[in-house]
Symmetry: D2
């Protein structure tokens, strides 16, 4: 993840504008947070925002995530799967089923 064509298009976009100099991991982390808040803004006062606006903001978050993964030299599918294995440990099905309780609190129940 992403498709090779997507990754190449994103890289070409940045290279053509000479923006790599701005894309430090820290700046990308800030950018992900900023775009995530713009996505949240779609739901600030309503839970039925315009679909295109949501898609655009989600795309912005993911775009910066791809840039950061690229910068860190990691593959998104791989780190998602690795994290999923950890989440599987923190949220045992028997305890977590049907409940939105944080793992730190679940741990106290064990």
């Amino acid at each position: 993840m992403p498709a090779i064509a997507t990754l190449e298009a994103l890289r070409a976009f940045v290279a053509a504008r000479d923006w790599d100099q701005f894309h430090t991991p820290e700046n990308l982390a800030k950018s992900i947070a900023i775009e995530a808040s713009e996505l949240l803004e779609c739901y600030q006062w309503s839970n039925e925002p315009e679909q295109e606006r949501v898609e655009d903001e989600l795309a912005d978050v993911v775009t910066y995530c791809i840039h950061l993964a690229n910068r860190l030299g990691v593959d998104l599918d791989e780190i998602v799967m690795k994290k999923l294995a950890k989440a599987d440990q923190k949220y045992p099905i028997a305890l977590a089923k049907g409940r939105a309780t944080k793992y730190t609190e679940l741990a106290e129940e064990r």
Copy 2:
């Protein structure tokens, strides 16, 4: 995006815990913003955080992005490419090259 195996693993994880009920688009948007801030927290006081911590937080952001895309019925590669076409219009190479200036300000220069 993501790989089919990743998407299926994420869906199975959520289904086994009966968490779909919590995954409304609004809750997912909040979750993306919350995880994006945890990623930012890696860079709160330093710009050399531990690599594994960054990978885990980035994975969390992307995981919720995948869930939201799934919920909205869109493909991440597709919306990223669609948004890139818009960014291409807003940031003409001749004006934007080497500059981190927002498109609203670039527009005033045109």
Copy 3:
């Protein structure tokens, strides 16, 4: 804003730990965003969080806002009142009453 005693207590806390070196405006802005997301986390899956937790997270946001105002040499009451005057222009009562519509969209109606 805040009360003099609060401001002095916050300054003494930071001075005793020699933390002024970390409190650049940028780091404080990141910290405000990070704490704001922890406040949001109280409402991630429920809208009835524990009151004490909400108070603690809100306090963290405001604490960093006080530090930033201090660093910028501005008074919080003053900038809030100045911004309110701008909001008053952007959201005319006749147009904005009972509606959560952004000023950019209201402007199109004028």
Copy 4:
């Protein structure tokens, strides 16, 4: 905190627009996070943003914090002082001096 005049001006602004209906604690928490990210955006690519822009965004964060405190029935000075007492315990001067290390890690050193 804030000054009585500020609080009254904010309340009058909201009342005149009949916006109390939108100001649920959850919506206010979302709004604080959104405005905090707009403040962060000032520092997205540079650490020398325009002072007036920073003041405006900081004012927006604090405005929503005042509304939330109001809604929760708490005084901002009071909760900041209460949280400070907790931070004092979590960050003992002897351990925390000159270091930006999180209390969870400091605890391991004790």
